[in-house]
């Protein structure tokens, strides 16, 4: 797969904004810049404040559209959530190294926590649906599950409040022995647990990390993550890493 070279573009038109739950939204913008599963964009929907753009993973890509699934966490994402059709954003991207899809084979588990499900629609679309099981954990009401089911993949849901699927964490319904390769994205303690389970069975696991960023392109070194190969830049060396190489409890 060829990775498109990143660009900085202002005045990118918002095609749609959907509110999926209280604090989760799906934003689609008109751009041909594309991107691979697991890559992200630095997104900006304001002039001066906040100062920095926000790194948001690619949820889906079409020829002239990129969509983001995001959760409102603070000032930046609150401003993103206020965008309406016809509004504009500035984008830098697509950025980073995404999932190594060529290494995903056999029975594939995609284990996600909360908004960590965001990059998985884009990824699942590139995989044979019959081989993929998505194990998705949510605090409460699930989101972005129906479109995965539409792809024909198996989706298993866990919710912390028991409002849907199995009550509890997704890691409790993830049996690492049942899969040959694993992909994970979500809160760090959850990914650390998935990485540990995979280490026990020897299943290769790719983890997509989240970090506060400033430049997003590998220049400033503020998003570094400790790995067995030393500090790596989440933005440029990742965001997807071999879970066995990440030092999870640094």
């Amino acid at each position: 797969m060829t990775i498109p070279s990143p660009a900085y573009i202002e005045g990118v038109t918002v095609l749609s904004q959907e509110r999926l739950t209280d604090d989760v939204y799906r934003l689609s913008v008109e751009t041909t810049t594309g991107g691979a599963p697991g890559q992200f964009y630095m997104v900006r929907a304001w002039d001066r404040e906040p100062l920095l753009a926000r790194p948001i993973s690619i949820h889906s890509v079409a020829e002239d559209t990129v969509s983001f699934l995001y959760q409102v966490r603070g000032t930046g994402t609150e401003l993103l959530a206020r965008l309406e059709q016809g509004g504009t954003v500035a984008l830098t991207g697509p950025l980073g190294h995404g999932f190594r899809t060529e290494e995903l084979r056999g029975r594939i588990a995609i284990v996600t926590g909360g908004i960590g499900i965001a990059p998985m629609f884009c990824l699942a679309r590139t995989l044979p649906p019959g081989d993929v099981t998505v194990i998705a954990g949510f605090k409460s009401r699930p989101y972005a599950v129906a479109q995965l089911l539409d792809l024909g993949v198996d989706v298993r849901v866990a919710t912390e409040d028991g409002s849907d699927g199995t009550r509890g964490f997704c890691t409790a319904i993830f049996d690492p022995h049942a899969y040959d390769t694993v992909v994970t994205c979500g809160p760090t303690p959850m990914m650390a647990r998935v990485a540990q389970l995979c280490a026990e069975t020897g299943a290769p696991c790719q983890a997509s990390l989240e970090a506060h960023m400033a430049c997003g392109v590998g220049a400033c070194l503020v998003c570094s993550c400790p790995t067995v190969q030393g500090n790596q830049r989440v933005c440029a060396d990742g965001p997807v890493f071999d879970a066995a190489e990440v030092i999870w409890h640094a």
Partner: protein, 305 residues
């Protein structure tokens, strides 16, 4: 029109990428022709590789950001072998920024960098607030700073620019001390030592407790410091601190700066420096200036009230 001579080195224009915000010049190559810049300051280099600080390294503030990178770098020998040859193809002046944990590390670092072909200017970093030993420890007291500058001057075969900390006890005395110790230029300011508290966790946001503040919020203070220093010394001053637009750059030039460095603004808008160069060109054309020297250092002295 924007040609600028900085301690004997000719720059295409007075807009330089600030250390630590532009890597070694490769990361932004896909967004614009970095050869159009006046120069690039490398990520802060030390003789030995450094992993930098653990924990969270960035925190946003109103009109600014705090960082606690802590001089993560591959070490000077690796820089010379892997990064410098590629940097030399970029077509812009190369300013090697060097830090150190102790005097010997500074001296050996400066010796290696200044002897390297392709390095145009050495920028001595005595102003990093994010490392315990070294860095800013040398940049607070003028006598201590003069000792470092004197020591590295002896081994520095290229123009030597000293990057000053706004956390110096007395920024003007500091600049004078550096000039007297043999500096060819000073650049100021590095980041302001600052604090953020996580009220939910009831602890400092950063493992190192304090971190360096940059961005538009520091600009008026940085500008005042540049103005004070430019008045007090005879060597060139390079202005740094929250510059995001060509108007900001011009303010620093009018306050006495020969050139400017831009850092945080590049994170906000990858092409910020190109826009600043373009804006300065248009300004000169509109004002019928053949050189920015006409408007440099035009604010006068401290008024006696």
């Amino acid at each position: 029109m924007l040609d600028t001579t900085l301690c004997g080195v000719t720059l295409k224009n007075p807009v330089i990428a600030a250390s630590g915000t532009f890597g070694f010049g490769a990361e932004y190559g896909g967004y614009f022709d970095v050869g159009k810049l006046g120069g690039i300051c490398t990520k802060g280099l030390t003789l030995r590789p450094r992993e930098g600080n653990p924990g969270l390294r960035v925190w946003e503030t109103p009109a600014g950001m705090m960082n606690s990178v802590g001089l993560q770098n591959p070490g000077i020998p690796t820089f010379l072998e892997r990064e410098l040859p590629r940097m030399r193809t970029l077509g812009t002046a190369i300013i090697a920024n060097v830090g150190g944990g102790d005097l010997e590390e500074y001296v050996e670092g400066v010796r290696l960098l200044s002897n390297a072909e392709g390095v145009d200017i050495v920028e001595l970093n005595i102003s990093c607030p994010n490392v315990h030993e070294g860095g800013m420890a040398f940049g607070v007291n003028s006598d201590v700073a003069a000792g470092v500058v004197t020591a590295v001057r002896c081994v520095c075969s290229k123009p030597l620019m000293v990057k000053l900390s706004p956390n110096a006890e007395n920024i003007t005395a500091m600049a004078i001390a550096c000039e007297q110790a043999g500096a060819d230029a000073v650049s100021l300011v590095n980041t302001f030592k600052a604090l953020a508290v996580d009220i939910n966790a009831r602890k400092a946001v950063f493992d190192n407790v304090t971190a360096g503040l940059s961005g538009p919020c520091i600009k008026p203070i940085a500008l005042r410091m540049v103005w004070e220093v430019a008045r007090a010394i005879h060597i060139p001053v390079v202005g740094i601190g929250g510059i995001a637009t060509w108007q900001d750059a011009l303010e620093f030039i009018m306050a006495g700066a020969t050139a400017v460095q831009v850092g945080t603004a590049t994170f906000v808008r990858p092409t910020a420096m190109l826009d600043i160069v373009g804006g300065l060109e248009r300004y000169c054309a509109n004002e019928h200036l053949t050189s920015l020297a006409t408007v440099r250092n035009i604010l006068g002295t401290v008024p006696k009230l």
